[in-house]
């Protein structure tokens, strides 16, 4: 099942050239790019593993793309995403986030029903490989 999280996730996967152009845009806004990866795309799994520190003070997208290449080498069959962090006072948050790498076979997300408190139903989701 195709996971749709962050920007551009309803579009076909971005090519490296397109990713690079998006990174250029982020850098032109003064945002710092952080790379994160995970094998569990559950929507509640907010905190993915960090690939190194977020990259501040970059001028060119090439630096980020080099790190992406390294991350793909190590975690090619995982989800990898870029987070663009805006350090402007008052924002100080991630302003843009998009997936740049997906595993070959994506896990499904399954709904689970549970009976609680008599006949009440509780719904939850889990990732199934």
């Amino acid at each position: 099942m195709r996971i749709t999280q962050g920007c551009f996730s309803f579009l076909p996967d971005l090519t490296d050239e397109q990713i690079s152009a998006q990174v250029e845009y982020c850098l032109s806004k003064g945002w710092a790019i952080g790379i994160e990866y995970t094998d569990d795309p559950h929507p509640r799994n907010t905190y993915w593993e960090m690939w190194g520190n977020p990259m501040f003070d970059l001028k060119d997208a090439k630096g980020v793309m080099l790190e992406l290449a390294d991350c793909r080498k190590a975690h090619g069959d995982s989800y990898i995403r870029f987070n663009a962090f805006d350090s402007t006072r008052g924002f100080e948050t991630v302003t843009m986030s998009f997936i740049v790498n997906r595993p070959k076979v994506e896990p499904r997300i399954r709904m689970v029903r549970q009976e609680v408190d008599g006949r009440s139903q509780r719904y939850s989701f889990e990732t199934v490989r």
């Binding site: 190194g52 990259m55 003070d57 970059l58 001028k59 060119d60 997208a61 090439k62 630096g63 980020v64 080099l66 790190e67």
Partner: protein, 306 residues
């Protein structure tokens, strides 16, 4: 020209016009105007600019083979303008479209080499990532390599640098700088560097006359001027200072002028009454004559000479 047929690819390219348009001329003119002397350096930069312009024209006709390597080494004595030229170089390469961003990242050994095992590679990579799309300027590059300590982490930084210099030639230009004799040693013990650096540019020492002009230029930039007496004193000062130890060309001059300004301020402050604008912006002969250089240098150096 027939308006109906689509314009064919121009069979000729006007290099002169290209030169004016690209803004390269502006950088070169600026270089000529701002930097006194340094004739061989300027000639070399002009050649590099010509090469890149021609290369760009060739690319337009599909003649280009591969991007030329532009890693450089600047060698010369202290204070001969290596950093200043590197900054100009970054601007020049950017206008020629050789580097994408044209910023200069200036580093020394401390920024590249780590303190413990496994610390160096991330540190060096961090710097390289910041320099992507621009120029990486490594000052006193020979400190990277310490032959007397084989467990020094400098070798690791060198290895990563060489790799990036080879693989990311389109992404950044590396400029190594340092004193001539020690750079020579450095290249001797790291043949990889020598072969990857195509351009070795030597910065000559300034002549006394050039240093005099540099002094006036520095003062003019700060809205100061020399009185005629001070100008003569300055010429004598330069000749005397050159003979003394730790002479660092333009940097020595800058320091001398800073001290002269200090004395000038003190002189104006201790004199009573109102001062004119002219007095505020003039360095007098006495401000320069008061320097210890005229007595033969610092106290302990004078003793050693006796």
């Amino acid at each position: 020209m027939n308006a109906e047929t689509p314009a064919p690819l121009p069979p000729k390219v006007d290099l002169r016009a290209e030169f004016e348009e690209s803004g390269v001329k502006a950088v070169l003119d600026e270089l000529d105007a701002e930097l006194v002397g340094l004739a061989p350096v300027k000639a070399r930069i002009r050649e590099t600019a010509a090469l890149l312009l021609v290369e760009r024209a060739r690319k337009r006709f599909g003649l280009s083979t591969e991007t030329p390597t532009l890693h450089m080494s600047f060698t010369g004595n202290p204070g001969t303008g290596k950093t200043t030229v590197a900054l100009k170089m970054a601007g020049l390469l950017h206008r020629l479209g050789y580097v994408r961003k044209g910023h200069l990242v200036s580093v020394t050994r401390d920024d590249l080499v780590g303190q413990y095992i496994g610390h160096t590679a991330p540190k060096t990579k961090e710097v390289l990532k910041k320099a992507m799309g621009g120029v990486l300027f490594i000052d006193e590059a020979y400190y990277l390599y310490k032959p007397d300590n084989e467990r020094d982490y400098g070798a690791e930084a060198i290895e990563i640098l060489l790799q990036v210099m080879e693989n990311n030639r389109d992404d950044l230009v590396v400029i190594l700088a340092g004193y001539a004799d020690r750079m020579e040693n450095f290249f001797q013990s790291n043949p990889g560097f020598r072969s990857r650096i195509a351009h070795h540019i030597e910065f000559p020492d300034y002549s006394d006359e050039e240093l005099g002009r540099i002094a006036e230029g520095m003062l003019a930039a700060q809205n100061y001027q020399l009185s005629p007496g001070a100008r003569a004193a300055m010429a004598e000062y330069i000749a005397a200072r050159r003979a003394q130890p730790h002479f660092a060309n333009a940097r020595s001059i800058r320091n001398a002028l800073d001290r002269a300004r200090l004395r000038a301020a003190n002189r104006l402050f201790s004199a009573d009454g109102a001062v004119t604008v002219e007095a505020l912006s003039t360095i007098e002969e006495g401000d320069i004559r008061a320097s210890r250089v005229f007595l033969g240098g610092l106290m302990h150096e004078r003793k050693a000479a006796e």
